[in-house]
Symmetry: C2
């Protein structure tokens, strides 16, 4: 009798334990599974190359473009190359609040990273460059950038280097006179279209649920629930739309902005574009401090807190901010072996 | 009879031909052999590392030093790193007549390459830095360089990065408080002491006589015969003595110098040091145009012609100048796989 009772009691304990384990596990799996499905709907992993119909990526263009990316001798004072504001060592940004161009001219905004950048709707914070090629082309004559006066002068300088002339021929074999600024821009664009940094988040999106830590999954959940994915989604976690900075409250109430930047209003002169900027991509955001168009905030936690406040009217706790920062660190990717090596530039003959 | 005569004639022709070939060859071999012996007396191949008793090279220091070499966030305006004036893509020089520092401040002289530089008698054109470590240390507070006011401010900035704090500890395990500017300088110095570029000329000096082309051997001969090796000799083809620039005639009569630089007189105030500079090393000189302390001349041919004139009172022909330039191109070396890759720098936590 006493054994019977003990046996029954043990069975009940066993059943309860088993049930609770099953419920617990399946609850955890459901949670994870639901988050994973949601993530797959909102985001997608990086491609191998950011293709362009207007500028097909070829190895010859990429090789030349990488060299031109480092070429400072085509700027008015010999100090500006693409790599000046987009050094690879700082993940393609420059660590400055606002970039500095030829003769130390101040640029109006913070340098966005050149990694994973080519498939955005446009380039620059206010979208006044249609593509990476357009950006490269306009930069050489941009007064606060390379500062050259005429495209012809850039072409003339490039032609001084026999090796460049030969490489332009190889990259643009159909062109009679291939050393042009348009081809310069295409070569640099082609190089930039290869600058992709696959990250743990890509691995996660492809099905490896262990690629994110538990803390990062929490952060992803918070990131989605807070509403960040309203703008920061897709392959690049941003870069696909324009949005007013300060939808709910003026951004400058919370940032350390020294002046109010009216964003796209500067180009469209439409009231609707006041304080409107391109939504930045968040890949490698951990590595590209300081943040915002004016680099006015240094840390990721402060940045997500301000964004939740001024865009979504939400007060996130410091725990939630830390969780989201944790998630954002899963977007830090691997720079390819090619991108991490420096090209050697030609000398005058 | 007629056959006998023909046979004898043929034999004579054969003997003459053979003799002339042998004489020609042995004459050529003697010439080559003599040149080779002379070269081995005058020069020596690069070591693996440019050692220093004061700063032994360790992998930990080199790793940290390479990162610090690229670190711009420790300069007053965030734009200056060692790599700014010594980019690897331009063989460790910057392609400018004179370097440009923080807030676009003009530096007084042309940036010498950082490759193969550490074993010179001193650093800088006028020898006012005792070593690469001294150069690195003084640069961070150099007004036209990094422009920081106090060493403590540099240390404070470095300490903001947890990764740097850890790497300083690894590199200087015996130090209680390792994040110091002295250790910063030692780490960068250690990295620079690995920056060696073995070239075809090293291969030649080690016994591979085919490493130089016939034209380069001619150039080497001309280089020795003209008297260039009076100063440009040793492992680094220079870098071991001070010399008046313009021994025979004032240099500014031939260079395109915009002003007269009095050289070491600026530091010693001794008349004997007027126009005296450190003899620059010539390794990779092909790749480090423009030339001279003020970068006033662009081509190698013009440079050797001016040097022969003002230092040795000799008028070299354009053929001789081209030959010497040919030889100097054999000093263009291979940059190591480590030096050609960019380090990724820490971000703020």
């Amino acid at each position: 009798m006493i054994f019977g009772i003990i046996q029954v009691a043990l069975r009940i304990i066993l059943i309860i334990t088993t049930l609770s384990l099953v419920v617990g596990l399946s609850y955890g799996e459901d949670m994870d599974g639901a988050l994973f499905k949601q993530a797959q709907k909102l985001f997608s992993p990086l491609p191998k190359v950011m293709e362009s119909e207007q500028n097909p990526v070829t190895p010859e263009k990429v090789k030349l473009g990488k060299m031109l990316f480092y070429e400072s001798r085509i700027s008015i004072d010999g100090t500006v190359s693409c790599a000046k504001c987009h050094p690879i060592s700082l993940y393609g940004a420059d660590g400055l609040r606002m970039s500095v161009g030829n003769h130390c001219k101040a640029n109006p905004r913070n340098a966005p990273t050149v990694f994973n950048a080519a498939s955005q709707i446009s380039q620059h914070w206010i979208g006044n460059r249609t593509s990476v090629e357009d950006q490269a082309k306009q930069s050489v004559i941009g007064p606060p950038a390379f500062g050259m006066v005429k495209y012809e002068d850039v072409e003339k300088r490039l032609k001084e280097y026999e090796e460049y002339v030969a490489l332009f021929k190889e990259a643009f074999p159909a062109d009679k006179d291939p050393v042009t600024v348009d081809n310069f821009a295409k070569a640099i664009g082609a190089f930039e279209r290869t600058l992709l940094t696959p990250s743990p988040f890509d691995s996660y999106l492809k099905g490896n649920e262990k690629a994110l830590t538990a803390a990062q999954k929490n952060g992803l959940k918070t990131f989605i629930e807070t509403g960040c994915t309203g703008c920061h989604s897709g392959t690049y976690v941003g870069g696909q739309m324009y949005q007013k900075f300060g939808l709910v409250e003026p951004y400058w109430k919370y940032t350390k902005s020294e002046k109010v930047d009216e964003g796209r209003y500067a180009i469209t002169k439409s009231e609707a574009d006041k304080y409107v900027f391109k939504v930045p991509i968040l890949r490698n955001v951990e590595k590209t401090s300081p943040y915002f168009h004016d680099g006015s905030v240094d840390t990721l936690e402060a940045t997500v807190t301000i964004m939740a406040k001024v865009q979504l009217g939400r007060d996130v706790s410091s725990k939630q901010a830390a969780e989201m920062a944790d998630f954002l660190k899963s977007l830090t990717g691997k720079i390819s072996e090619d991108a991490i090596t420096v090209p050697l530039l030609p000398s005058l003959e």
